[in-house]
């Protein structure tokens, strides 16, 4: 089980003292927070990509490249990479490069973005959001998985004899999560490729995400990547802690009330009840987070949103200390103990090397079966009936690719 944090990188005024960090201060704070994540024993740092104020992280691989140099074990990810408006060629190259720089400590989460005007700013049409996500990702996969690509699609200029450079580290692309709040099409896409599905989870009640994740799990099995409970599920969460829960509530309330997105809307109490937000003692955070497993099944990655709504850097670092010392060790122990042996751990570069090797082996068996079926058919039409059942011998492992 992997634990980490994800940030949208908002520049928000601290409502308790009316100060606003500069872009430079916020960018530096994000880099400090990422390093702190490793220091307190977290596994993953995931960075958003935005092209509009009040968010600063427009260039994730620049920031993640810096974090890669400053850390040793931390897995670097995104939340999310805009698969709709970015050129898939550029995504393929940027993240393969980051893989080499970070010695494989890289994966990505694909998303469609949350801001309408970003589409036209990048020459795209928001009404084509899903088709863009589908086609761009299909191309991205090929650019990583095949050395030379001939390609033609609806949204991008064609490619003939193109090789994305550098090639993925060890010939294995970064693991990919697909994030979606409401589109079953994206859950279907994640299942088709045997990729991970990440439920943001922060907005909307859990029942909504429960349906989406169950659907993804069923389709993952349908496409032959394993059992439903072996699918790769990631969840978001949002916490604020203090030793005494009432202190946590009092301290967090002004930030909650003025937060971007949900500020000036529901009360802290309503939002806590309706979403995974937990404001209280570390033990309350542990208890609440353990319920996620009951709702969604054994899952592979838990990311927390910790650094938004104008919370000062000092507070965020204190929160990360608590998360790393008082919360995650218990969660890790409990969730790892509960997870059955056949359910995969959180994906890493090493586990992807093994998974891709198993996938090619299965495909080789399948190809051999197809060939023996051709041979059997030839033999049958030649008058012999002896080998007509060999093709059924290895009919499993339809890996969908």
């Amino acid at each position: 089980m992997q634990f980490g944090i994800f940030t949208v990188g908002d520049v928000t005024t601290d409502p308790t003292n009316n100060t606003t960090p500069t872009e430079n201060e916020r960018i530096k704070a994000i880099l400090t927070i990422a390093q702190k994540a490793e220091e307190v024993g977290l596994d993953v740092f995931a960075l958003g990509e935005h092209h509009n104020e009040p968010f600063v992280p427009s260039s994730p691989t620049t920031m993640l490249g810096y974090v890669a140099a400053k850390t040793e074990k931390l897995l670097l990810s995104t939340a999310t990479t805009l698969i709709t408006t970015n050129d898939p060629v550029k995504i393929a190259e940027d993240y393969a490069m980051l893989q080499h720089v970070a010695d494989g400590r890289v994966d990505l989460m694909m998303g469609r973005g949350n801001t309408g005007p970003v589409y036209p700013w990048f020459g795209k049409d928001i009404r084509q959001g899903i088709p863009l996500a589908i086609e761009n990702y299909a191309l991205l996969r090929r650019l990583w998985d095949e050395d030379v690509v001939d390609w033609e699609g609806q949204f991008r200029t064609p490619l003939q004899g193109f090789t994305a450079t550098p090639r993925p580290l060890d010939g294995v692309a970064p693991f990919v999560w697909h994030g979606s709040i409401r589109s079953p099409e994206i859950a279907e896409q994640a299942a088709y490729y045997g990729d991970g599905f990440f439920a943001n989870h922060i907005f909307w009640p859990k029942e909504h995400f429960q349906r989406l994740i169950n659907y993804y799990r069923q389709r993952f099995e349908h496409y032959g990547h394993g059992k439903a409970d072996q699918a790769f599920v990631g969840l978001g969460g949002q916490v604020f802690m203090a030793k005494n829960s009432q202190d946590a509530v009092n301290q967090f309330r002004p930030y909650f009330d003025n937060a971007p997105v949900y500020g000036h809307g529901p009360s802290l109490e309503d939002f806590t009840e309706q979403t995974p937000l937990t404001v209280g003692s570390p033990q309350q955070v542990i208890d609440r987070t353990l319920t996620f497993r009951e709702t969604f099944g054994d899952y592979q990655r838990q990311l927390f949103l910790m650094d938004h709504a104008g919370l000062p850097l000092k507070t965020v670092l204190e929160q990360l200390d608590m998360l790393g010392e008082l919360v995650v060790p218990t969660l890790r122990k409990e969730l790892d103990a509960l997870r059955p042996a056949h359910v995969p751990d959180g994906p890493t570069h090493q586990s992807e090397i093994e998974r891709m090797a198993a996938r090619s082996a299965a495909k080789a068996v399948q190809d051999a079966d197809a060939q023996s079926a051709v041979a059997a058919e030839a033999a049958r039409t030649a008058g012999s009936t002896t080998t007509s059942t060999t093709a059924a011998a290895h009919s499993g492992a339809a890996f969908g690719l």
Binding site: G153, P184, E188, Q189, F203, R211, G265, P266
Partner: protein, 212 residues
């Protein structure tokens, strides 16, 4: 969910005061529709939703993008109905903000094909055309067939029951509108439908172009 042989009628009232003349009109229209359906031998369940009770949930939905359990329950009731009675007070020459906000947070395909009776209340009859220039287009956009008769009740309508001057009185208009809605509901199968939001017809996870 519900007994599929029974028709589901949902009435939405955007009245704000208590007691409310908008709610009063809603109840008169509901009663008339139920009794018309009963007269046709059709069994019907009526649910009346006062948007006033959901005002905060609706505002929160506008801000956060998701509905509370209570609001979702109301939205589901409307989306799965066989007939809708939608009644708003006329504020500043149009439907009330609360009325509009409720329909704003419902998915814009959820009301497709829903037989709808629109009605409104106002201080004077001079606001009556708001039904046709504001409320009717709203439901047309949502592809909900709106009954030809819409009912406007000005304050004075509650006191004038006579038809001596040849003008149909409020109860007459209520009965005509209710009859139209009952007729449309009688054949509706909307409440018996099972909608699978995960039925991805024609969707390919690799795209439709020759990209794969």
């Amino acid at each position: 969910m519900t007994d599929t042989s029974r028709k589901q009628l949902v009435a939405v009232s955007a009245g704000l005061s208590q007691p409310s003349s908008t709610r009063l009109l809603t109840d008169r229209l509901s009663d008339a529709t139920v009794s018309d359906l009963t007269g046709r031998g059709v069994e019907v369940d009526l649910r009346t939703i006062d948007l006033r009770d959901l005002a905060q949930d609706i505002t929160n939905n506008l801000v956060t993008g998701f509905a509370s359990t209570k609001l979702q329950d109301a939205i589901d009731a409307v989306a799965n109905a066989d007939g809708l009675i939608a009644v708003t007070p006329i504020f500043t020459a149009s439907y009330s903000g609360l009325f509009k906000s409720f329909f704003d947070v419902i998915d814009n395909t959820a009301l497709t094909g829903l037989p709808t009776l629109i009605a409104a209340t106002g201080g004077t009859p001079r606001h009556s055309l708001a039904l046709d220039h504001a409320v009717r287009p709203l439901f047309s956009y949502l592809r909900a067939p709106v009954m030809p008769t819409s009912v406007f009740a000005a304050a004075e309508d509650w006191g004038n029951g006579s038809t001596e001057d040849g003008i149909a009185a409020l109860p007459d208009r209520i009965h005509r509108a209710a009859g139209e809605l009952a007729g449309a509901m009688e054949h509706s199968t909307r409440s018996a439908r099972v909608i699978d939001p995960y039925a991805l017809e024609g969707f390919s996870p690799v795209g439709g172009y020759g990209a794969q």
